[in-house]
Symmetry: C2
Subunit: 212 residues, 2 copies
DNA sequence: CGGCGATATTGATTCAGATCAAAGAGATGG
DNA sequence: CCATCTCTTTGATCTGAATCAATATCGCCG
């Protein structure tokens, strides 16, 4: 039933999809590419507050605007729905509302994990966490079946995601490579050589929070 | 209709209300006091990922456990509902689900603001933001109608909320006092002397994100 | 009222990550 | 195929906040 009102929109790398505070005329879901949510301070410091991968959802019923900028990190294709009819649908279909709440709660959990990372982790732990996350989510296995992940962003963008500077990101990538934990030759890919050591370097509970 | 299944629970300062990973038998709303959500790393580093004030909600339909510890920051009174009947209610009453989603989205926005704070703000900006937030939310005006807010937490807890150490928190409080922006004599209260200067010190957009 | 444990302040020093600076390595387009 | 631009790496230095350490103050209980 959504079919009737859907349309596709494309954005090139670097395009701003939505500006903070701008009235929100549509909701959308990411079909292809990566987009980021980010907040910027007056003096230019910026912090990414979320990453949208394919299947992730943009926009919230009941909110006419967003509190952050949404920027295309790579080329992006969105599947858009006009906000009004979409909201009507949500009102009429209870389990759609429920599904959207699930999504919001998942995002909230992710945001909280990120708060721990931003507030308490060291640069090395941040980078390790980031790579481990990529390896888990975007398991694009390499030509020879190895564990190569695509880096969808530049060093600068990674820095903004992790609350670091690009130089520190670069240094920590190099350090993890020197330690034989990861490898890369090209700037757009990482190969995880030693997943156990990588997990160890994230600083997260090895047991995933199980009772000891 | 919720009346039939509600009960009150009390917790003393420092009590853990819920442990991370523990099966969740109830949902609750805070009646009185302050509770915090926090994540702890293996080596003891901890980061608060949320603060629950009266009227805030604990627990999420569809989740059998929480991903963080919930701790009573002050003495706390909760109004609890058994999870199962509560979930049934949510299923049957569409606009309750909608209301819960609103709450989740509000929390998400707050979490994202906090991410900016944790990732990019200086110690002074963090403290200023914290005090400004308190002044805004818990406007307990003082005896003579002045702007005195109650600090519901110790320096150590503030440090865990802001991603700092307690020494830095103490130093920044002293610095803001020396600059004539705030005042305090007792550790449980702050008085905002110069709200404009305080807002300025937060590093936030002065115009609240309006288009310039 | 006095002593003790928890909480806070303040000072001295260290260190992780930021900042400043300079080369390399890809891409892109004429 | 070279020029240019952007992104990345690496090095040197600086600095804000952490860490280490010593008092000081508060609140509580006998």
């Amino acid at each position: 039933m959504l079919e009737g009102m859907k349309s596709y929109k494309k954005f090139a790398t670097g395009d701003t999809i939505l500006w903070r505070g701008e009235p929100l005329s549509f909701v959308a879901s990411v079909v292809d590419g990566v987009a980021s949510l980010s907040k910027t301070m007056e003096d230019g410091r910026t912090q990414m507050v979320g990453l949208l991968l394919p299947s992730d959802f943009i926009g919230r019923p009941g909110r006419a605007q967003v509190e952050f900028d949404v920027v295309a990190t790579t080329d992006v294709v969105l599947c858009c729905f006009d906000r009004k009819p979409f909201e009507r649908l949500v009102d009429e279909t209870p389990h759609v509302a429920q599904r959207l709440m699930e999504l919001a709660l998942d995002e909230l959990d992710a945001a909280r994990d990120w708060m721990l990372l931003l507030g308490r982790k060291t640069a090395r732990e941040k980078i390790a966490t980031f790579i481990e996350m990529l390896a888990r989510r975007s398991q694009t296995s390499g030509p020879n079946g190895s564990r190569i992940s695509v880096l969808p962003m530049t060093r600068d963008q990674i820095a903004n995601y992790l609350g670091l500077t690009l130089e520190t990101v670069s240094r920590q990538f190099s350090a993890l490579k020197k330690d034989g934990i990861i490898d890369f030759s090209d700037r757009k890919h990482v190969e995880v050589i030693d997943l156990v050591a990588l997990r160890d370097a994230t600083g997260d509970d090895s047991d995933g929070g199980m009772i000891v």
